[in-house]
């Protein structure tokens, strides 16, 4: 068995003939924090969905624990997903359940643990994210950062082997961002899990990632450790890492020539 818990081989995926990914290869070694970076709309979140088996690739394959995800039937996929925890972009907490019930949800749904044990486990998980005192609150009563942390507690409820983070830093204040950043690293190491982070926040991601993939135009444009990438002279990586406005990633959406468009009114409808 290889040391790579998730492996993506020559993956292509697209909607209605328009390919979003054009032959992507990635490996995610056990115990590491691996980040997938790229601009908005480059299909990073879709990669997570492909790993989770929510959508099927057009070509190529995704292996999780050696099994090809899209060849599994429903039960097989559910079995694979039990090893995964996912933190959604906005937490995706169940708004009709309290914080406690949210974290208890996967345990209640997927295990036959007695209520007392679930209680202890939930409080442990909440303690790990520093929100044990908030267990009685409803998701609507939480701040964005707290909600993200509760969702994190829920994602690790069943001690998954793989934890996926979809934009874990998006929309957080700097303090919450730091807290979440710290948590991702410490939880990964404490649980011995593999973390996959999808993000476009360079500073935080580089702080905790062991390895980074850059996705652009449907392919892996660059990869390496954060240090390598900081030094990278590839124009795209340079633009992204240093947050420059214009560069290989154009400021303008592809359009007709500005002057001709202004003069020729008929073309805009």
């Amino acid at each position: 068995m290889t040391n790579n818990i998730v492996q993506i081989d020559n993956l292509s995926f697209g909607y209605k003939g328009r390919l979003l990914h054009k032959g992507i290869n990635m490996v995610f070694p056990r115990g590491k924090v691996v980040a997938i970076m790229g601009g908005s709309g480059s299909g990073k979140t879709t990669l997570l969905r492909l790993i989770g088996g929510q959508i099927k690739p057009t070509k190529g394959e995704v292996r999780v624990g050696g099994e090809i995800v899209h060849k599994q039937d429903r039960d097989g996929i559910f079995k694979l997903r039990r090893q995964m925890g996912m933190l959604f972009q906005h937490g995706a907490l169940f708004t009709d359940l309290s914080v406690f019930d949210n974290v208890a949800f996967p345990m209640r749904e997927l295990t036959d643990l007695p209520a007392s044990m679930i209680r202890d486990l939930v409080l442990m998980k909440l303690n790990a994210v520093g929100l044990r005192g908030a267990h009685a609150l409803m998701p609507t009563e939480l701040s964005g950062g707290m909600a993200r942390r509760v969702a994190l507690a829920r994602a690790i409820a069943l001690d998954p082997a793989i934890i996926m983070y979809d934009e874990p830093f998006a929309g957080l204040d700097p303090i919450s961002m730091g807290v979440v950043c710290e948590l991702i690293r410490s939880l990964n190491d404490a649980l011995g899990a593999t973390s996959i982070i999808v993000s476009h926040d360079v500073k935080e991601t580089f702080l905790i990632a062991d390895y980074v993939y850059f996705v652009a135009d449907g392919v892996v444009a660059a990869e390496g450790t954060p240090d390598d990438l900081m030094q990278s002279t590839l124009p795209f990586v340079h633009q992204f890492v240093h947050g420059e406005k214009d560069g290989p990633v154009p400021f303008h959406y592809p359009a007709a020539n500005y002057q001709t468009e202004l003069l020729n009114q008929a073309s805009v409808r």
Partner: protein, 268 residues
Amino acid sequence: MIKSNLLIGITRILTGIGHRMIERIWRLGAGARLFFLTIIYSGESFKRFHLTLREIYFTGVMSLLIVIVSAFFVGMVLALQGYNTLQKYGSSEAIGVLVALSLVRELGPVVTALLFAGRAGTAITAEIGLMKTTEQLSAMEMMAVNPIARVIAPRFWAGVISMPILAALFSMVGILGGYLVAVPLIGVDDGAFWSQMQANVDFRLDIVNGVIKSLVFGVACTMIALFEGYDAPPTAEGVSRATTRTVVISSLTVLALDFVLTSFMIVI
């Protein structure tokens, strides 16, 4: 030039209609698929029946007030209007029959279904649409929990169970409302009111058929609400549109189904 413009216009209208029809048929198919999946995964959700109980609370119990209050007024109006006409023919004693039959056969199931679509149906659509928008359904799926078994099926059965109960309550409360107007207010004989009713309302033909109707409406209204929520585009606008559609489609479906069911029941 004008002629070709006209032709283009007509073509555009026709293709528009065609697209819309295809869209409708597509949605019908998707709805039917969701219905079958709901039935298939119902077993899983029955193992945790408290989920369904919880939804009965939200759909049924929460609709009690509006159903009872409307039923009361509908019954009173029926008695007033009925008396006004019946007394011209000297048969004001038949007012009990009139009120009871109208309620048990038609108004009970139909008005309850319309109220249900407005009260519980919209709530279901909005809730599920919002769960989809905020990725709660996706999250569930990623946790290896089937959202159809966990979210859709309990709500479906709650609606199917609640509707006949609400309709029966509607009929009963409506009859009581009619009684209050007919007997103490207008002065129709108390005994005649009930005995005429009992002589002319048949348990199987009227009451059981009313319950069957409300069961069918329960399936239709709940399923429409669930599908609209489940299928809503994950945006605020999408959810609000889906909610509106729930009311419109449920109401039309209930009225059309009522005609179909009534024609079956009258022939039998």
